[in-house]
């Protein structure tokens, strides 16, 4: 039985303090807040109806009236971009939430039960990881057909494997800890031990991974939309906007550049936040910095 008492998680307020000291985390949080506000208040913020076509204003370059120009149907790019943030965030968030729940459940199960169950689940992980994310996403999305729900499911499946891995490793360490043994001696069943005693002690690892992989989910969404397996038109998503703009890449640069920038900023913000969260939660890294 281990003699040193290391708390498995740092205390919430000290995490918050460490997060506040990190300047990069402020940039990440600020940018992300901006995007979330854009998504939530899209109808108030968008200057035009994102679906309103107007042939008279086809492929207008950025101007005082159309800040980011118009597309080949005469739709306002800024308005479509703002509405597109809804889909991107929704898909990214929900897909990661699903991957996180299923992945950590499978990871804890594999780590706790061990033996055959562990081998089967880790075999599944190896299979999932052997496909490039995009290829796997294309396969699943093509099989299920193009719709918002199927897109979320496809992305969730491509992102499950890392969560299984990240949940499994601490579970193996935690199941030997004295308090899990003590719980067993009190007659707690395996499900209670996994859910109440192991999960809360490793949830921070999973959440950090979630914020990092949400960026990847948003990228995958854009890629799948780009190849036509995303949300069907006319709904605006950043990926499908890039694809539509691709046909005019030489004469209307604003159609591809602005949605690309939107993706870039979102992914950057999530990565900054994820890195800062990881540093704040990992007490070892933190003490090295202090």
């Amino acid at each position: 039985m281990s003699a040193v008492a290391t708390p498995a998680v740092a205390k919430p307020n000290s995490v918050w303090q460490a997060l506040r000291k990190n300047r990069m985390s402020w940039i990440g949080i600020g940018l992300l807040l901006l995007i979330v506000i854009a998504a939530v208040f899209a109808p108030l913020l968008a200057p035009f109806d994102p679906f309103q076509q107007n042939i008279a204003f086809r492929l207008e370059p950025p101007s005082a009236e159309f800040w980011l120009g118009t597309d080949s149907y005469g739709r306002d790019v800024l308005s479509r971009l703002i509405y597109g943030s809804r889909v991107s965030l929704l898909v990214g968030f929900v897909a990661i939430l699903i991957a996180m729940c299923i992945g950590s459940a499978l990871g804890i199960l594999a780590g706790y039960v061990g033996g055959m169950v562990d081998q089967i689940i880790m075999g599944l992980v190896d299979v999932l990881l052997s496909f490039p994310t995009l290829l796997l996403g294309i396969m699943v999305a093509a099989m299920l057909g193009a719709s918002l729900e199927n897109l979320i499911v496809a992305i969730a499946i491509t992102e499950i494997a890392p969560f299984i891995r990240v949940a499994r490793a601490p579970t193996i360490a935690l199941k030997q800890r004295d308090f899990v043994e003590a719980g067993r001696a009190l007659g707690f069943g395996p499900i209670r031990l996994m859910g109440v005693h192991i999960l809360p002690n490793m949830i921070s690892d999973v959440v950090v991974l979630g914020s990092l992989w949400m960026a990847s989910a948003i990228r995958t969404e854009a890629s799948l939309s780009f190849v036509g397996l995303g949300v069907p038109p006319p709904i605006a998503t950043w990926g499908s906007m890039i694809r539509e703009g691709f046909e005019h890449i030489l004469d209307a640069w604003w159609l591809t550049v602005f949605p690309s920038l939107a993706i870039l900023i979102t992914v950057l913000a999530l990565n900054l936040l994820g890195d800062a969260l990881r540093d704040a939660i990992d007490p070892k890294l933190r003490s090295e910095r202090a």
Binding site: M1, A3, V4, D178, V196
Partner: protein
């Protein structure tokens, strides 16, 4: 002197318990022919040095040893006459914490750092009793007061890291006693604590034993603790009981050479010896046990026959048994 009544039926009885570990593909006995009894309202101390099989015995009772590496090799574990070794895992899970509870050595790591101490006690109650959350909280607070946590109501919602080692051990005891078990297994519960706290925890444990009428199996390597808490003592060596007696007899007239050596190796304030004796050698590994008496290689009384036949536990008094052919013979000559 409070000799335990021999007629009182034991609440926990081990009969020829054998537990085996797998080492390099072969099964070796870590605990052999262990027969012990604990009656209600009685503390049995199990003493021995590291590796003598004390903890394995306790974990075997609760069937908490990892199934991949350890197995039940024979014998019975009777709780009020019911053999625990024959129960299904599901039935066993129901008994853990309800009829038999255990407290561990390390109070610092035996509590879940992400749950308040009160909730951890309430969780133990809800596991075994069909009560509402509110009722469980009330009961948990009662137990917390029973183990004398100062300002228990205020500390209920504190996290383990806000407690000192001694207070955490009190919380552990509260969790173990929450469902009023008939038997408490205490695996060196005071080893990690400093001496003053140790004394407090020991007197708390004996108070609670009397209040609940529990049978307590107290595992320790500290003979000072044994003198303070035990009614009866079982001395273990290399996985077997080598001597068992009531506490007064054991300290006054130890029979087994290992018990004698242990007592001589204990620092005393009432003695005048300037030096502490030690026992040369170490406990044999379980896959390299000597053929005859397990203690023979380190024994001062060793004779040729000791290395050939394994001695049996022989009765030398009303409550006194010893596993040593030489001493039993001497005792017979005297009688």
């Amino acid at each position: 002197m409070n000799f335990p009544l021999v007629s009182k039926p034991p609440v926990l009885e081990l009969r020829d318990l054998r537990t085996e570990f797998r080492i390099g593909g072969a099964w070796h006995a870590a605990v052999r022919e262990v027969s012990l009894q604990v009656s209600a309202n009685e503390t049995l101390a199990v003493v021995g040095e590291s590796g003598s099989g004390k903890s394995v015995t306790a974990l075997s009772v609760l069937r908490l040893l990892p199934q991949s590496a350890a197995r039940h090799g024979g014998g019975q574990v009777l709780l009020d006459g019911v053999d625990l070794a024959a129960l299904s895992e599901k039935q066993m899970t129901k008994l853990r914490g309800e009829a038999i509870a255990m407290i561990f050595q390390e109070p610092m790591t035996s509590l879940n750092p992400t749950m308040t101490v009160g909730d951890q006690i309430a969780e133990a109650i809800q596991q075994h009793r069909n009560v509402t959350k509110k009722e469980a909280r009330r009961l948990a607070l009662e137990v917390l007061e029973e183990v004398k946590i100062p300002a228990a109501a205020k500390r209920y919602d504190d996290y383990p890291h806000q407690f000192s080692g001694g207070m955490r051990q009190r919380v552990m005891i509260a969790m173990a006693l929450a469902c009023k078990p008939r038997v408490l297994l205490a695996d060196e519960p005071t080893t990690a604590l400093d001496v003053t706290i140790q004394a407090q925890i020991l007197s708390l444990l004996s108070e609670l034993k009397t209040a609940h009428g529990m049978g307590v199996m107290f595992i320790t390597h500290n003979l000072g603790v044994v003198a303070q808490i035990a009614d009866r003592v079982a001395v273990m060596y290399a996985g077997e009981v080598v001597e068992t007696a009531d506490v007064h007899t054991l300290f006054a007239r130890p029979m087994h050479p290992y018990t004698e050596a242990l007592l001589r190796a204990m620092p005393r304030v009432d003695g005048n010896s300037a030096e502490l004796e030690s026992i040369p050698g170490g406990v044999p590994a379980i896959n390299a046990l000597p053929k005859g008496c397990a203690f023979a290689p380190r024994c001062r009384l060793k004779e040729a026959r000791c290395e050939i036949d394994r001695p049996k536990l022989a009765r030398v008094g009303a409550t006194h048994q010893v596993r040593c052919v030489v001493r039993v013979e001497q005792h017979g000559d005297m009688a």
